[in-house]
């Protein structure tokens, strides 16, 4: 199954590496950009680590974990995807690192946000590892995804694409942590796109495997 997630290595690194660069511009050059005088706050520092960390993880996964169905991606898609990732990255970073940035009112939100983000990142990584192990190297055999010994993979019982579920959870955590509108918008838009992909993959699984587990949904447990 080919989706726009599959791409050649240089495409991936532009798509996933670019946002790191775009985010860091606003984080590091606050003087020239905003005329800001003071240092960044703890919240802004942790937010930067969360954001950059997510994309570093993605780049590393692309290099060592993902097995792709197609070697290259059409150039039009690459341009569109880069605009999306880099654009949102710039918007989010601009507001998080702004001198007039306002962290969420309650401290609890910060802990809930960070915890949710970490849960999502670990879950997403666990699923990617699980997918890698499901497909023997060099083959294109396809199997019904099943949980392994990692408890995060238990979500496979409930959805076909738990990696997307965990990723949406991760961005939800980031949005709660930072309380930035464009982060929340990115979560919704990205979540919507992933849901669309998940529905496609779920349909393919059901077509391909007669014995595909009945209770499973595409991306949202029990719902869709």
């Amino acid at each position: 199954v080919v989706s726009t997630q599959s791409s050649g290595s240089s495409g991936i690194n532009a798509e996933y590496g670019g946002p790191i660069f775009t985010y860091l511009i606003f984080y590091l050059a606050r003087g020239p950009i905003y005329g800001a005088k003071g240092a960044t706050t703890d919240v802004q520092n942790v937010a930067c680590a969360m954001y950059v960390g997510h994309y570093v993880k993605r780049v590393l996964e692309t290099m060592f974990i993902h097995r792709f169905s197609k070697a290259t991606m059409p150039i039009g898609n690459l341009f569109k995807n880069c605009t999306y990732y880099w654009g949102f990255s710039a918007f989010i970073s601009y507001f998080v690192n702004h001198p007039l940035y306002t962290p969420p009112a309650c401290n609890l939100c910060l802990y809930i946000g960070l915890g949710t983000y970490l849960f999502g990142e670990l879950g997403n990584f666990s699923c990617h590892l699980a997918f890698m192990k499901m497909r023997p190297p060099g083959t294109r055999t396809r199997v019904i995804p099943m949980p392994n010994s990692n408890p995060f993979t238990l979500l496979f019982h409930l959805v076909s694409c738990p990696n997307y579920t965990y990723e949406a959870i991760s961005w939800l955590g980031f949005s709660i942590f930072t309380s930035v509108f464009y982060a929340a918008l990115f979560t919704v838009v990205g979540g919507g796109q992933m849901l669309q992909w998940a529905l496609g993959k779920h349909k393919n699984y059901k077509k391909e495997f007669e014995k595909y587990p009945k209770g499973r949904k595409a991306m949202i447990p029990f719902i869709l």
């Binding site: 507001f95 998080v96 702004h98 940035y101 306002t102 009112a105 930035v180 509108f181 464009y182």
Partner: protein
């Protein structure tokens, strides 16, 4: 059958509504010979007629008509943005000469369009109406778009000075919105669409007028 009656009613009502707008606009122009109160006179009928067009998005979405809901949405929202978010909130801009030009272009285009749709439903479109529908756009489109762009441009000073519809930092959601910049980007958005839509209509014209002429010949034979 019921849907046909509904659509017939819808299209006739809208055609009449826009007719009222046109009448009021032209009457005011003839009486006063200046554009100052044209919007004032026709704004109620204009708002009702243009806003009802939202229903067309629903018609397309539920399959009542064979248009793409996305295209319909783009067309309807562009009028509604100019009407409700630009012209109506800024009274200083309502008396400019570009306003009656824009309104009258809208009126003529819509009256032709709705009558064309209504008569298509009962298969009784006279060739002259088809000709109008696929020819008027050649000048109505540039006139209407010019009117819209001039209207948006004319409100920029007021919008900038009053901070209307804009949001500044700091706030709880860490978001800012600069309405003048949004409007300028919106104006720039017209640039790629203009030639595409125009060429699409030119192609449609070739197809539809050729077909209508052939149909007319068939009927007379």
């Amino acid at each position: 059958m019921l849907s046909k009656i509904y659509l017939l009613l819808y299209n006739c009502c809208l055609a009449c509504g826009w007719n009222i707008v046109l009448y009021q606009a032209v009457e005011e122009l003839c009486n006063s010979r200046n554009p100052t109160y044209v919007y004032e006179k026709c704004k109620v009928a204009l708002k009702i007629s243009q806003t009802l067009a939202l229903l067309e998005i629903v018609h397309a979405a539920v399959g009542l008509v064979r248009s793409s809901p996305v295209t319909t949405f783009i067309q309807v929202q562009s009028r509604l943005v100019v009407l409700w978010l630009v012209l109506d909130p800024v009274s200083e801009a309502q008396g400019n000469s570009n306003v009656p030009m824009m309104i009258i272009a809208w009126c003529v285009a819509e009256i032709v369009r709705y009558w064309y749709y209504a008569l298509s439903l009962v298969d009784k479109v006279p060739y002259v109406l088809t000709w109008c529908r696929y020819t008027f756009f050649t000048f109505l489109y540039p006139i209407g778009v010019s009117g819209e762009l001039l209207t948006i441009y004319s409100v920029l000073p007021v919008v900038t000075a009053t901070g209307m519809f804009s949001l500044e930092l700091p706030n709880k959601w860490n978001v800012s919105f600069h309405y003048p910049i949004f409007l300028m980007l919106y104006m720039a958005g017209y640039v790629p669409y203009l030639p595409k839509l125009y060429m699409h209509m030119i192609k449609q014209r070739g197809k539809m007028l050729g077909k209508a002429a052939a149909d007319g010949e068939k009927k007379s034979n």
